[in-house]
Symmetry: C2
């Protein structure tokens, strides 16, 4: 039955990259833009992003973060003020050299991230400890010119939010970075049904200019890791580069301490590759643009019309995102279509079921059908959305937990990642050991799981291990 | 009492441009970005924009419009496909010439508007009359390199929404343009408390590439007009340039008919200049970031603490945006501060009032105070918000209606606009007559109020007048 569509989507076990491309384009989440490396986020994809925005805006508000908007064009000189920062971003920036018909005196970089311009403004606004903490966030587009691109995962332009804070103490900034990391972890748990690994990046993987970078990492279906968001403790690095000073309580001028944190449309890529299957998308209910699709069968039947309308109204009243497919296509075609598009619940309203006072409820996550009394069907499905969410999260967690393996040498790491798993590795303080793993296995240190371990030896050099690190191949 | 602040804001009657600059910066709506002509929208300004977005997103949804996101970079060649379009926008575009460390093969224009790139995508997606109408909107940043800039009114980069549709008939596109114009008119009436003039632009003022441009125009405090949004019937112009074809019901390939419409952060400039006074901002309640500010007087008094908390909770429960100023500043300072920031209602909670079971309610629009029973104060203030909204709208309407005058010659038009008013002018079909008015008076034709008039003579050339046009100086 599902053949028509499945034939158009590559087998995920045989060719995962092609499966991904098929899924994102055929479900109309996204299309390729006319400029190489750019993407168009189509309504079905954009609404997922809006649902993520709604969740985060509420969380940000609880944290006292205020939304604002800073200019996209950054004077080239700004980027150069923080040495590591410019080194990290200069190779991938897009540059405006003329505007308004004239060559510009100073070239303008299209923001690859906004620490520099926001810190410049903060230095104007912040004077006293009374002004702190300052916590702002912006939702905007970002440009990083990448060589290999893939929709959502890595594109020349993408959408994100970036939060930027300044605190009066080092602890303030560090705690903020950790607290926002936890907001992202909860976004995964409560919204995307993704169990993120959370932890600190090792030196070679941290944000250019940060003291410490924390990350949320997710395991994709192919055993690769996707860095899905980061939170940085910037210490005084940017405050010094941009002269953010405040009078402390003792009346002494001091540099501020800052943090920044962001997640992007890449999260959509994450949920596709965590939950999807060979029929296409499986969308987590809390971000699905359509949570329940109703398919009336024998649409001219008066009972069917009535029952459909009644269900629709109940869902709408309950705040459930419902859509009724009244197109001329056959029921079978519709079933395939909405399964491919990953709608969590389908309700089939047909005369035979109705004669027995029932409708058929299909859940996308388990591909199971059951008959439910029409009377309580809306309530049943609404509750089922939560059950589906939990089931998807647990499934993803089980999948992930079964695919982490200890590895005690470079050879073992290679074996584990070749086996499409994450390697849990005790390793020493020397970042070169992480880089050696990368060189030999193409797996990178994703994050530090535990610090200050003792009694273990480094899997690479054999010296004293000080930390446990997850290694994986990654997007 | 209000002296402290008022001294920092120029007198609006004496120097309106300086008043505007003082108001937008000192109330922290906005700041100047480091690149000339750019602005930073600070949280107090951005929240107004978010409230406008919330209103419009709901209206767009009712119209069946879906949000999406299209790339910001447009190949230079796209802009050239529609002849009028490129002529209109080429002089003010910003251009990316290198990216990722390399000179680009084709220069990329940063979108000055997105008809071209969206129509390019539509041509891929639209095949049959069954696909129509297509209606999408995006919220994004726009770049137009302007010589003279002013925060919100005209900046190199600004935020807006742009809706783009394709219909299968000419009437469909035209009706859409008119319907969205009405959405904007209602945004003014229901949200911004601004009575917009709505009508069609004359030929010389229409959007480059449009068949017809409709506009919402608002009269500012200085008698100038601010074009606050536009809606375009694009006919088949862009469909032909970008090859948007569909199979009609008869199985014949036909070009689509399109419309586009947008409003921007300029609306914030409009509401400042329509409602503001010599104390600063007067914000319409429905978009005000803070609708009610509570100022506790004698903050240690237990009764004051209690009453404040109770009020706060009632407002929050009722969905009113409330803020309690618990800073160490004096009550007088706070009063000035929040008056300058335009908060619609201030509630003063002091021991003397409380002893009589009451609080003092101040309304910003009328600068009046009254005592209200504590018990019903939250309900009273909540209802007052609606009353303030209506009052602000009526006041603005009265102001506007008193400043429209008939003018029957170029000399009279000059006199009327010099008098800080709009001139209502019968004029002939020849656009040169409009341009002659502009040349002699610096006032432009803002919009056509009435078409197909008869029995009147053109105020410029004396020939048969066919339409009544509003003329005004403008931003």
């Amino acid at each position: 039955m599902a053949k028509n569509f499945v034939e158009n989507i590559a087998d995920m076990e045989a060719d995962f990259p092609q499966w991904y491309t098929d899924v994102v384009t055929k479900t109309e989440l996204v299309d390729y833009g006319p400029v190489k490396g750019t993407m168009v986020i189509r309504p079905y994809g954009y609404e997922i992003w809006e649902n993520i925005q709604n969740y985060l805006n509420k969380e940000f508000k609880k944290e006292g973060v205020k939304n604002a908007y800073f200019p996209m064009f950054i004077p080239e000189s700004f980027l150069k003020r923080e040495a590591e920062h410019v080194e990290g971003f200069a190779p991938e920036v897009a540059v405006v050299t003329y505007a308004g018909g004239k060559e510009l005196d100073e070239k303008l970089v299209v923001r690859p991230t906004s620490e520099t311009i926001i810190c410049e403004m903060y230095s104007k606004w912040i004077n006293s400890y009374r002004d702190l903490p300052v916590k702002m966030n912006q939702w905007c587009n970002i440009v990083r010119w990448e060589k290999t691109t893939r929709p959502f995962l890595r594109t020349s332009e993408f959408l994100w939010q970036e939060g930027h804070t300044v605190y009066s103490t080092a602890e303030g900034a560090k705690e903020d970075a950790l607290r926002m990391l936890d907001v992202y972890r909860r976004l995964g748990e409560e919204c995307l049904a993704i169990p993120f690994f959370t932890g600190k990046k090792t030196e070679s993987e941290k944000f250019p200019g940060a003291l410490e970078t924390y990350t949320i990492e997710a395991m994709m279906h192919d055993g690769k890791s996707l860095q899905s968001g980061t939170s940085h403790n910037l210490g005084q690095n940017f405050a010094k580069a941009f002269n953010i000073k405040f009078l402390n309580k003792e009346g002494v001028l001091e540099y501020g301490y800052s943090s920044s944190w962001g997640v992007s449309t890449r999260l959509i890529g994450a949920l596709i590759m965590v939950h999807g299957d060979n029929r296409g998308l499986v969308l987590p209910p809390r971000v699905a643009p359509i949570q329940v699709v109703i398919v009336p069968i024998g649409g001219e039947n008066e009972q069917v019309l009535l029952a459909t309308k009644e269900l629709e109204e109940k869902f709408s009243e309950g705040g459930v995102r419902v859509y009724t497919d009244r197109t001329e296509n056959s029921p079978g075609w519709k079933f395939n279509q909405w399964e491919m598009k990953g709608v969590p619940i389908r309700i089939e309203v047909g005369p035979r079921d109705l004669a027995m006072g029932q409708v058929t409820v299909f859940r996308r996550d388990e591909l199971t059908k059951q008959q439910v009394r029409l009377e309580g069907a809306a309530e049943f499905a609404t509750n089922l959305l939560d059950e589906i969410h939990t089931n998807m999260f647990e499934k993803a967690k089980k999948f992930r937990d079964e695919r982490i393996e200890r590895a005690n040498s470079v050879e073992e790491i290679l074996k584990v990642v070749d086996d499409k798993k994450f390697a849990r590795v005790d390793i020493c303080e020397d970042e070169n050991c992480c880089l050696k793993v990368k060189e030999k296995t193409t797996a990178t240190s994703r994050m530090i799981e535990e610090e200050n371990i003792s009694g273990k030896n480094c899997a690479v050099c054999g010296k004293k291990a000080t930390r446990t690190v997850l290694f994986a191949r990654s997007y």
